[in-house]
């Protein structure tokens, strides 16, 4: 007897293969592929309108793709959507809780709609309220909750059935830094318990902290993919900026440091910029040379490439980098 379900990549929690989705003339997704290995976190990064939410909606069976295939927790999302829904949790920006119900009632309702018995739904609701530090607010209507409490409840609602795969669509958008870091800890806890996570975000810091791998989506296409470190290394090494007291000094220093690849940018005439090719010894050599030539440095800055640099460079030049 053959299995009714398509086969998935070994150990993959999510496989998206050539997803295409058009809304009229708008190509929300234009052939996007990625995967999330079991127990790992994939960060999907991209500006607003890049197609992140469309991808999540396809993976959670809310939308059907025009083309391409997606397998979540070993199940094809188009062929067996109801089976997929049993194995996933969805939370984030667009998934919501009922403001007029209490936190406890929200979780119990989600439990019932996941076909838990009344008693099991109630027990699970209490467990989650405790785990997410919402016990004190459990019997208050959600409209009295703070933004951070709402997001925690929203995440709790996604976890009612202990799903092996969690999809978080911009889970911390609009939260204050303290609530954000709270939520990060919760997500890290889930991952350490073996949950696989796909996380969309606009915050590079969030992807940097939570994601094992990152996919950058821009205009419906995958513009870049790799670990945070790999993406950063694409932008080259750390750079050193040397500041001088005058334009003449800076020009002379740039000339003297030609062998180091130093440049004297037009826009900032007191500064000389050079790549840190050999680490700390480069800094020593540069300073010795300048000292020998009597060119006094006012200030030294080191610039690490950030994911922001990567993001901006990828999404502003059509993915050339």
């Amino acid at each position: 007897m053959s299995s009714p379900h398509p086969r998935s990549a070994a150990g993959a929690a999510i496989v998206a293969d050539g997803l295409v989705k058009h809304f009229g003339e708008v190509r929300a997704l234009d052939g996007v592929s990625f995967d999330v290995p079991s127990g790992r976190v994939l960060g999907v990064l991209g500006p607003n309108g890049a197609g992140k939410t469309t991808a999540v909606r396809i993976l959670t069976t809310i939308l059907r793709p025009d083309h391409g295939r997606a397998v979540v927790a070993g199940v094809d999302v188009v062929a067996h959507p109801q089976e997929v829904r049993r194995r996933i949790g969805l939370a984030g920006q667009y998934a919501a809780v009922d403001e007029n119900l209490t936190g406890r009632e929200n979780l119990a309702l989600v439990g019932r709609l996941n076909h838990l018995s009344r008693a099991d739904a109630a027990t699970r609701a209490s467990e989650l309220l405790g785990q997410f530090h919402l016990t004190d607010a459990a019997n208050r209507p959600v409209r009295t909750y703070s933004g951070g409490m709402r997001r925690r409840l929203d995440l709790a609602a996604a976890l009612v059935t202990h799903p092996p795969v969690l999809l978080l669509d911009e889970p911390t958008t609009g939260l204050d830094p303290a609530s954000r870091s709270d939520l990060w800890e919760v997500i890290e806890g889930l991952v350490s318990d073996g949950t696989s996570v796909l996380l969309t975000t606009q915050y590079l810091e969030e992807a940097d902290r939570l994601a094992d791998r990152i996919v950058v989506i821009d205009r419906g296409l995958v513009a870049a993919e790799g670990t945070a470190a790999e993406l950063k290394s694409r932008l080259g090494q750390t750079r050193v900026a040397l500041q001088f007291a005058s334009v003449d000094l800076a020009a002379a220093a740039a000339h003297a440091l030609g062998d180091f690849g130093a440049v004297h940018p037009d826009g900032d005439q007191h500064t000389v910029d050079l790549p840190l090719r050999g680490g700390a010894s480069t800094v020593r050599d540069v300073l010795n040379l300048l000292h020998a030539r009597d060119l006094e440095v006012g200030r030294i800055d080191l610039h690490e490439p950030t994911l922001d640099d990567v993001f901006i460079s990828i999404t502003s030049n059509g993915g050339r980098s």
Partner: protein, 272 residues
């Protein structure tokens, strides 16, 4: 990584309960109905406000205009109240649109779509809860009617049948408003879209006045349209007179509205 999809590994077997059968559809619909009713009790002002407008109409037509309106063979208050009941149900149905538009706008429908629940329970639960709400509101309006001199002239069974006609009519309308609620982006838009549809139906009807006093073209429509037929049926059942014709006409209208609009609303829900 796409090559990896070809790698074979046994996938999870399907769980024993598909969660899509009739039994689950009923259970999920009950869960959603319970949720909607609970939300109504959390917002008692909504129920109160949906009574304010009909009460104002009762007072206005009973005491202000009523003296100027002659209905042969009947006290005007008796003629008026069944019309008020239909008006209450008709404008109350707008809440179906508001409720759904709100759930959509707040992202709740999105979450519900990601759950392994029955696909029909969201609309079913909405319409069922609004129907239960209608029963409560009609009973309250009958009590208010009794206070201003309304008296039924048949027996309890027929009066209950009259309430039944109103509730069934409300059920049909709920599908119209479900379709509206799912087609707009928020509660305000739902309200704005619903009023222009309901106002001509409710006012160009026999709910408050005899259509024979209207211009011929309007009177012709006012005699035949669904609000008038529901009013006529409720009057016949509560006040007396031939019931078969108006009751049949009202049920046919409701059936027609439901048959056309329920599938459209369901399709809209599936697609949106």
């Amino acid at each position: 990584m796409t090559a990896a999809t070809a790698m074979a590994l046994p996938s999870h077997p399907p769980m024993s309960e598909p969660g899509t059968g009739f039994r689950w559809a009923v259970r999920d619909t009950i869960a959603m109905t319970g949720r909607n009713l609970r939300v109504m009790t959390r917002l008692p002002q909504v129920l109160v406000f949906s009574l304010v407008q009909p009460v104002i109409f009762v007072l206005m037509f009973r005491y202000v205009f009523g003296g100027a309106i002659q209905i042969p063979g009947r006290d005007y208050v008796d003629y008026l109240m069944p019309g008020i009941f239909v008006q209450t149900v008709s404008f109350g149905a707008i809440n179906t649109a508001i409720g759904l538009a709100e759930d959509k706008n707040k992202g709740l429908l999105e979450r519900l779509r990601s759950l392994p629940m029955s696909r029909s329970a969201v609309l079913g639960g909405r319409v069922l809860a609004d129907t239960i709400r209608n029963v409560v509101i009609i009973v309250l309006m009958i009590l208010i009617g009794l206070l201003v001199g309304f008296r039924t002239h048949t027996n309890l069974l027929l009066v209950l049948a009259g309430i039944g006609i109103l509730v069934v009519f409300g059920f049909g309308l709920a599908w119209l408003f479900a379709l509206i609620g799912l087609s707009v982006t928020n509660a305000e838009a739902a309200q704005a879209a619903a009023f222009p549809i309901m106002a001509p139906l409710v006012f160009a009807s026999n709910a408050f006045v005899d259509p024979s006093t209207m211009p011929d073209w309007l009177g012709w429509w006012a005699e035949r349209q669904p609000v008038s037929k529901a009013t006529e049926a409720a009057r016949a059942l509560m006040l007396g007179g031939p019931t078969a014709g108006p009751v049949t006409a009202s049920l046919l209208w409701t059936l027609g509205i439901t048959a056309v609009l329920a599938p459209l609303a369901i399709r809209r829900y599936r697609r949106s």
